[in-house]
């Protein structure tokens, strides 16, 4: 296989390497193993939400409600356990509800034929409100199963790796495989690229899109489990920028917002770019607000690049 800039994820990987090198040189602390494992840890929840986001964006959709879905799932899991339910039941309930919300989104997009932007904008408002109605304040939870992904860890090349990290990597690999090596993946790309062509080729467009939203919902549920592993406290106000952060990761990873082009490996790199940038800028003593400016500039630049590279091909 030849590597060129048009191959998905090559551009973002170069950007990531450049960022890491720059911060390693300009700060004394960035390259320390503790910091590196913290960078990875910090990418975890948003990185997982970005995985679901990637699937949806590949079908030319967008999900503004993914973080709200994740937050609601954390609250549900925590409240159930605090209320005395067995932890496995709480976990399953959280995953099921997150998948169900994904299914509802998919149903509204495929059956009622509403634009994903509008559906998920409405869901964002609804889910955020439901979370706050459900519980006014955050719910601390100390349950071995719910925090399992964050508390269990092993050493990998000197870096502490949590089970949550491992699960995220496995999900990325499985979805990479499904998208590039199975019919389902080819159909997801075709549906996002040219839905009419997909239909005429005998692909069940509705079922394909619905499956994407269902799987994305399940992924958001797993993100909720990871979130409880990182912080044993379900907070209705957490991850308020998770939706935009995940879109940022997807876009930086080279996936086109127009659908049909991109890869989950790009998203993985994109999620790392965002965290590396923030961590590095923090250690260089640069204020939060300027970090936001930098991230925003990066997103616009990435989309502009996508636009231009597609323009050249026409």
């Amino acid at each position: 296989m030849t590597l060129n800039l048009r191959t998905p994820a090559v551009g973002p990987t170069i950007a990531l390497v450049v960022a890491v090198v720059v911060f390693s040189v300009t700060t004394s602390t960035f390259l320390e193993l503790d910091n590196l494992s913290l960078v990875v840890e910090q990418s975890l929840v948003v990185g997982t939400m970005a995985l679901g986001q990637t699937l949806i964006i590949l079908t030319a959709g967008i999900d503004l409600a993914n973080a709200a879905n994740t937050v609601l799932a954390t609250l549900l899991m925590a409240k159930l356990v605090v209320g005395g339910a067995p932890s496995w039941l709480a976990l399953l309930a959280g995953l099921a509800v997150a998948a169900f919300i994904g299914g509802v989104t998919g149903g509204l997009v495929t059956r009622v034929k509403l634009p994903p932007f509008i559906v998920t904008l409405g869901l964002l408002t609804i889910l955020t409100a439901v979370s706050r109605i459900y519980t006014g304040q955050s719910v601390p939870v100390t349950d071995p199963l719910l925090s399992w992904l964050g508390t269990r860890r092993y050493l990998f090349g000197g870096i502490e790796v949590t089970y949550g990290m491992t699960v995220a990597v496995i999900m990325y690999v499985v979805l990479w495989y499904a998208l590039t090596r199975t019919s389902w993946g080819k159909h997801v790309y075709a549906v996002g690229n040219e839905p009419e062509a997909a239909r005429l080729s005998g692909i069940n467009v509705r079922r394909t899109v619905l499956s994407v939203y269902l799987i994305a919902g399940l992924i958001y549920g797993i993100a909720a489990w990871q979130a409880l592993g990182r912080v044993p406290n379900a907070d209705p106000n957490a991850y308020q920028t998770g939706n935009l952060d995940s879109i940022t990761a997807v876009v930086l990873g080279g996936t086109s917002l127009f659908g049909g082009r991109g890869s989950v490996l790009g998203t993985l790199v994109g999620a790392l770019i965002v965290t590396v940038l923030r961590s590095g800028l923090t250690q260089a003593g640069i204020d939060d607000l300027y970090q936001n400016v930098a991230t925003g500039v990066l997103v616009i630049a990435a989309v502009a690049l996508d636009r231009f590279s597609r323009g050249r091909q026409r």
Binding site: W184, K186, N193, E194, A197, G202, G260, R261
Partner: protein, 276 residues
């Protein structure tokens, strides 16, 4: 007499008060290129959609190899061996040629990797795609090129190759040369001839009379929702076909083309006499 491969009798399709197909007949013989011509609104695209399963007729019968069939969708027609090349080609531009050829009918690996892991047999699909392109003499740098990097004619060729690769009975092409330049059109016509020479009959919908006369063995003239005439390019003229499809001429029971009385005088009748 050859038994028709694809045949329709008395097809009717109404949309509210509009009758798009009004008792149409259709016959496609083995090994021929049959052109379907008709004025805009004559209902030829509705007829073709009925034959390719995209439209379900209200009345009438379709037979494939003499057996009655009932297509409820394009997939049914495809399963019966009828492949259609749509005017907008139905290709996914971001995907490569091999993926497009197999879009919607990908091949899985044999064994557990295919059945359990659902893994695609990319190698076999690429090899088969390359073979089809070679057989049809379609020159493309790499089978892994995204379709969007191809010219209009090459895209048309890919869509035609897909139909030829999977069609076992009939290939239907909707205006394949409409968007192409002279040189590219000539290549597509060559391609149609190659497909016919491989034994696969082709239904060609076209507005372009010179193309029709160059490639077709017979011409089905569609007018007012039904078949007005079938002529052979070998023993008729383009003016005659134009006359038939506009209604200036008609074909009698005996197969003789005559001028329609009381119609606006066209001069086509005299023209024909003087030509003889």
């Amino acid at each position: 007499m050859n038994e028709p491969i694809l045949q329709a009798r008395g097809l009717v399709k109404r949309y509210g008060k509009v009758t798009a197909i009004d008792g149409a007949d259709f016959d496609l013989l083995p090994g021929e290129v049959l052109a379907v011509v008709g004025d805009n609104g004559a209902g030829k695209s509705s007829l073709i959609k009925a034959l390719s399963g995209a439209v379900v007729p209200d009345e009438g019968e379709i037979r494939v190899d003499g057996q009655p069939v009932h297509f409820r969708g394009p997939l049914d027609a495809r399963r019966a061996g009828i492949e259609t090349v749509y005017q907008d080609l139905a290709l996914a531009p971001a995907q490569d040629i091999a993926s497009n050829l197999f879009l919607g009918r990908e091949k899985r690996l044999p064994g557990w990797r295919g059945s359990v892991l659902r893994a695609l047999d990319a190698k076999a699909m690429r090899a088969q795609a390359q073979q089809v392109l070679d057989e049809l003499g379609i020159n493309i740098k790499s089978i892994l090129q995204p379709v969007e990097t191809l010219s209009g004619g090459q895209r048309q060729a890919v869509a035609v190759a897909r139909a030829a690769a999977f069609g076992t009975k009939v290939v239907i092409m909707d205006e394949p040369t409409a968007a192409l330049g002279v040189a590219e059109s000539a290549k597509v016509l060559e391609l149609i001839a190659k497909i016919r020479d491989r034994g696969l009959p082709v239904v060609l919908i076209s507005h372009n009379m010179p193309h029709v006369f160059e490639i077709a063995d017979r011409v089905h003239v569609h007018r007012l929702g039904r078949r007005a005439a079938v002529v052979k390019p070998a023993d008729s003229t383009m003016n005659e076909v134009v006359g038939l499809l506009t209604g200036a001429l008609r074909m009698g029971e005996d197969g003789v083309v005559e001028e329609v009385r009381h119609a606006v005088t066209t001069g086509l009748g005299e023209h024909r006499k003087s030509a003889e």
